[in-house]
Amino acid sequence: MSGLSAPIEISGLSKVFRQTTSGQSIVAIDQLTLRIDPGELVAIVGKTGCGKSTLFDLLIGLEHPTAGSITIGTKTPYDDFNAFRGKIATIFQQDRLFPWRSALDNVKLPLELIGIAEDVQQERAMSWLKRLGLEKFANAYPRELSGGMRQRVAIARAFAVQPEILLADESFSALDEVTANELRKTFVELAREFKSTAILITHQLEEAMAVGDRIVVFGKSATLLADIRMMDWDRADYPLLREGIQNTLQANAPDPRLRR
């Protein structure tokens, strides 16, 4: 059983891109402050281009902030990059499987990278494929699998390392609604079972409401427009909530109905 012991603290985080061609600056993230507690399931919604994927890259540790910081315990994912080996896992919109590896070997990849014993790798990867209902396809190559099955393999690959932090960027957006629903449910179940702290980035409000314990609404440049805890809302009020978030997104300003 894994589980993050310290919260993810994003404070005063900014990321500015300077375009090489025009010399113009793009403020992708503007002084974002946000705290995510261990074991929380957070959905981040925002319009296209609002800086979601940029935040994602910073959380993975592949980009450095222009200002501010992300700290997890005493470490940052970008400066203490290797300290997070085996602790962060990602699920993207595209499955990003290695086409030259079988489903089983794709799930094994992160286990190989953290260097655990070969027989343990095999066993663990296989049990994750079983868990996602793919044991019969262990030896199939990605091209032999449907889009939904490939995304299942990607989910198995992410959970196989039993990460403390799970980052998902539009992970279910490319799937048909039925498959997406199914995988969302599996994702939430697994994240809870393993007490992972999970952040799902999405532009679909319905998805955010289906997955998150908490919905964070981003405006332009990842400004925090709303931060909603689902347990503060009765199911009966969901339509109101939905409308409130929709208005917030549209107006790029907090909707008064969201105040609780």
Binding site: I60, R101, Y141
Partner: protein, 247 residues
Amino acid sequence: MISSLPRETIISIVLFAVVWQIMSYLAPSLGIPAFAIPGLGRIAESLTKITPLDVAVTLGRVLLSLVVSFVIGLLVAVLMYLSGSVEKYLRPMVRILMAVPVVSWILFAVLWFKGVEFRIVFVLVVVCAPVFTVDALDNMREVSRDLKQMIRSFRPTPLQFFHKLMLPAITPGIITSWKITLSLAIRVVTIAELVGAVTGIGHQLSVAQELFSVADVFAWTLVLVILLFLLEALLVQLETRVLRWRA
């Protein structure tokens, strides 16, 4: 092997042989000296005199040089991939290497080095290694950003990054480079062997030339071409096995 050839291929080879044989009959009456177009019988006789040792020696030189070229070429490509400034300094050098004619390399080799074997390997490596470098570098550049981001999120060591992602990703390209350099090396080795070697197919070709034996030249050339085809067939087999995932 022959049975797997398409019918058209067999027909065109047979047609060529027939035309050749007719030409060889007609040559004297056309004022062409008889030795210039020897009959098929005479060529067959030359084929029986092919010495396997010379074939083996040439094959050995080609394979050794290709392995050396591959290792050097890949290492240089990796260095260029890792460092932008290494790339900027080496790219013009590689381009220049590729522009130099083979004959110049042979002359340099003769002037610079004493050992015959070393000269031959030098010429082959200097011709083939840049091909591996340029291809491998291009292929590495084309590896999907998405896959790089995915594996990086799992924090691989630099070695794991290359071994788990880059190498398998560029394998199809590497096999293509081998096909190109193989035919290049087979053609270049014979010229390299003309200078100083006392073994190998190139040497035998020069002997045949001194003896004015077109039949011998024909026979040795035929052996060389068949050798190339056999090696290529092996590569294709390897390719289908290694790249099963593409199908």
